[in-house]
């Protein structure tokens, strides 16, 4: 085995096909898209060079600022929400429900397997005010509060989106973190209990540090997913009202394919790539430091 892997030609043969396919469908389009950032035009009119005009436009475009702010705000809140809710569920499975957690685990995981569009429609109906009053508004009416048009303003639509996405994915993070928690050796927990640690102190000093690696991977996983949010926004609000809930991804899609400005769309895509890269780096650095301390 060592002889085969030590041979450069063997490595080339083993990696070659995968690398070729990867290059053709991943790297080439990425570089290609980078090239488009310096052009103006679309497939009908053809492309012409545009220098760095797209980049200066990126800095001046208020819609990009709004979309970037929305993306960051959304990613921060949903990531924290998903991971915290998932962690709490995982703690519930391990320490309270113990062996009988299978049913609750299945129920909490159920929204993960539902198609996003279906979940979007479900929440639309749930929070709707017209043509029929939805369950949430009916509940508000029952306690004497007037119906709220949740999708009528960007602020309330944002929170419906947050609630929906946390509900949709917390089951997934619960299972992920559950796997991390069951890995904690029973002896460690046992000895901590004998030393008098219980409840919150046990979690704070024993469980949390020991599950930190899996918690960190969940965070990186979650933040990268939420920065690239697209489907749930399209399904629930389609970016509206106005552009009140438009993330960078949706703005990029609209710019390229609806307004047929491929060059500027590519520039927005580049911005998104840079944001993802920076955030991943920061999370990675923070997690490395914490791990060595813990």
């Amino acid at each position: 085995m060592h002889r085969v892997l030590g041979d450069r030609r063997a490595i080339a043969i083993l990696l070659g096909p995968a690398l070729l396919v990867y290059s053709l469908i991943m790297l080439v389009p990425i570089v290609w898209s980078l090239g488009y950032s310096f052009t103006k035009g679309n497939t009908i009119d053809g492309f012409t060079g545009n220098g760095v005009a797209n980049f200066s436009r990126l800095f001046d475009d208020p819609a990009v600022h709004d979309a970037l702010w929305f993306t960051l705000k959304y990613a921060a809140i949903v990531t924290v929400g998903q991971v915290v809710a998932g962690y709490l569920l995982a703690l519930l499975y391990v320490f309270f429900l113990k062996k009988s957690s299978a049913l609750i685990r299945t129920l909490a995981f159920f929204p993960v397997v539902l198609p996003t569009v279906a979940v979007g429609l479900l929440f639309q109906k749930f929070f709707q005010v017209a043509p029929q009053t939805g369950p949430v508004n009916s509940l508000l009416n029952a306690v004497g509060i007037e119906s709220i048009d949740f999708f009528g303003s960007a602020g309330s639509a944002f929170w419906v989106l947050i609630v929906m996405d946390i509900w949709r994915s917390m089951g997934f993070y619960a299972v992920l973190l559950f796997a991390g928690l069951v890995d904690i050796p029973d002896e460690v927990l046992e000895s901590a209990r004998l030393d008098g640690a219980s409840g919150l102190r046990l979690i704070r000093h024993i469980v949390l540090p020991l599950s930190l690696p899996v918690l960190m991977s969940s965070l990186i996983f979650s933040i990268n997913g939420t920065l690239k949010v697209f489907d749930s926004v399209v399904a629930l609000t389609n970016g509206g009202p106005g552009n009140g809930t438009t993330p960078l991804t949706l703005y990029m899609f609209q710019t390229s394919f609806t307004y047929s400005d491929y060059g500027y769309g590519s520039t927005i895509a580049l911005l998104l790539t840079v944001v993802c890269l920076l955030v991943s780096l920061v999370v990675y650095r923070v997690s490395q430091r914490d791990l060595t301390e813990g």
């Binding site: 043969i13 009119d45 048009d149 009202p241 106005g242 609209q254 400005d261």
Partner: protein, 438 residues
């Protein structure tokens, strides 16, 4: 060693083959070669939107009847995409030079003109003239098309619509409201209805355009038929006070709750249902809604109780009440490269027969002459047809001369304008900015 070498060479060879194969695959995928790209098409391929069933069904009917010989030479083949993805599809097909023989040419006239400029769209005026069927197009429809497409006939008038306000005669009568002739009378009538807990207007805020139509028609009434042409030419701005006034008037209707609750969540069908079930008294819509009005299954108030009135005048305005907003529906056009003798046979058969087929089978009014007499389904259809044939000057709609981006911005923010989350001047500013961005 002697054993290893050939194996490596073989592997290298297979690697090379795999690489070449995937490259070949890529080239074929990127290249043209679609049905419509060749000079002589093999079928009368037609790309339409899923939402529009009338044209598709009428053409299929004609392919078995009046246009059988054209269909035998060049069989009709319909393909549909959801309207929201039409523009993307067209851009991709145009980029690959694979546009079908006949296609819906985009959601905004701006895209059609872009296609025409790059030589993808046939010069229909010239082609129809040489086929001797240009006179089969109603002059009013031709003038609307020319106003929309920079003086050229770039699409066929598969639909010809005028827009106005459909109203519930019974509700008007019960509440002592006469058909309003001015905007102030309209607002007063709406107030009367609202006081009786009847929703005055139904409108789809999700679509947005039924709301921006109110703004533009107000503008045509107050500033005259060239109000939006001036904006397109840069001679006026939507942020000018006389333009903002129109948005203010429409926003005021929303503020008083005349569009009902949650207007932003109301989709097209729901708005239509609200009116046809008697839950709302007025409904601004185009004459294509006659198909729904005539359908007893949908129309619970009865066709005899539905009236059609022009958008009222604005006191002291330069526009006149008989200038109806008009359009030709979704622009459908023929490709330039695939236009040959067989396509011509189809085009001339459509020009001669589509008008009566669509009216007879679907109650749909087109811009083609009706060559076989068709009896109207109801009084309101007759009224609209008479109005169309006697109308002298028509106007367009709010986004008709806008870029695709400004169109989207305007329609997605319209609900905010009437729901009060966006101030009228802010709305006009946002749309003006989108216009300036192009």
């Amino acid at each position: 060693m002697s054993l290893r070498m050939p194996r490596v060479r073989r592997a290298r060879l297979s690697l090379f083959t795999a690489g070449t194969a995937s490259l070949a695959l890529l080239t074929t995928a990127c290249g043209g070669g679609g049905a419509g790209s060749s000079a002589a098409p093999k079928e009368f391929s037609y790309l339409s939107v899923t939402e529009n069933t009338t044209v598709k069904t009428a053409l299929t009917t004609m392919s078995k009847g009046a246009c059988k010989s054209a269909n035998d030479a060049l069989p009709l083949k319909v393909e549909t995409v959801p309207q929201a993805s039409l523009d993307q599809k067209l851009q991709l097909l145009a980029g690959q030079d694979a546009l079908p023989v006949q296609f819906a040419a985009g959601n905004a006239p701006a895209l059609t003109q872009q296609l025409a400029k790059s030589g993808k769209v046939a010069d229909l005026e010239q082609e129809l003239k040489s086929l001797g069927v240009l006179d089969q197009l109603e002059p009013a429809a031709v003038s609307t098309i020319k106003a929309l497409y920079g003086g050229k006939v770039e699409v066929l008038p598969y639909e010809y619509n005028i827009e106005g306000i459909f109203y519930n005669k019974k509700l008007f009568q019960e509440n002592g409201i006469a058909v309003p002739g001015t905007w102030d009378e309209l607002v007063a009538g709406a107030a009367k209805l609202d006081a009786k807990d009847i929703q005055p207007f139904s409108a789809s805020g999700q679509q947005g355009w039924p709301l921006t139509r109110l703004v533009s028609t107000y503008l045509y009434r107050s500033l005259g038929p060239d109000a939006l042409q001036k904006v397109a030419d840069g001679k006026a701005k939507l942020t000018d006070p006389e333009y903002v006034k129109a948005a203010e008037e429409v926003a005021a209707l929303g503020e008083k709750g005349y569009f009902g609750k949650g207007v932003g969540s109301i989709d097209y069908d729901t708005a239509m249902n609200q009116f046809l079930n008697g839950k709302a008294a007025m409904f601004y819509m185009g004459s294509w809604a006659l198909a729904n009005v005539s359908d007893a299954k949908q129309n619970k108030v009865g066709a005899e109780n539905v009236g059609f009135m022009p958008f009222p005048a604005v006191a002291g305005g330069k526009g006149s009440i008989d200038q109806y907003p008009s359009n030709v529906g979704l622009g459908i056009t023929l490709g330039a490269k695939s236009f040959d003798e067989k396509t011509g046979a189809w085009a001339s058969c459509i020009a001669k027969n589509y008008g009566s087929t669509a009216l007879k089978d679907h109650g749909s009014i087109s811009g083609f002459k009706v060559n076989t007499e068709v009896k109207d389904a109801n009084e309101v259809t007759t009224q609209v047809r008479d109005t169309i044939s006697t109308s002298k000057q028509n106007v367009l709609w709010f986004e008709a001369l806008f870029s695709t981006k400004a169109t989207t911005v305007s329609q997605t923010n319209a609900a905010g304008l009437v729901a009060g989350s966006m101030k009228p001047e802010q709305f006009m500013q946002t749309v003006q900015d989108a216009l300036a961005a192009q």
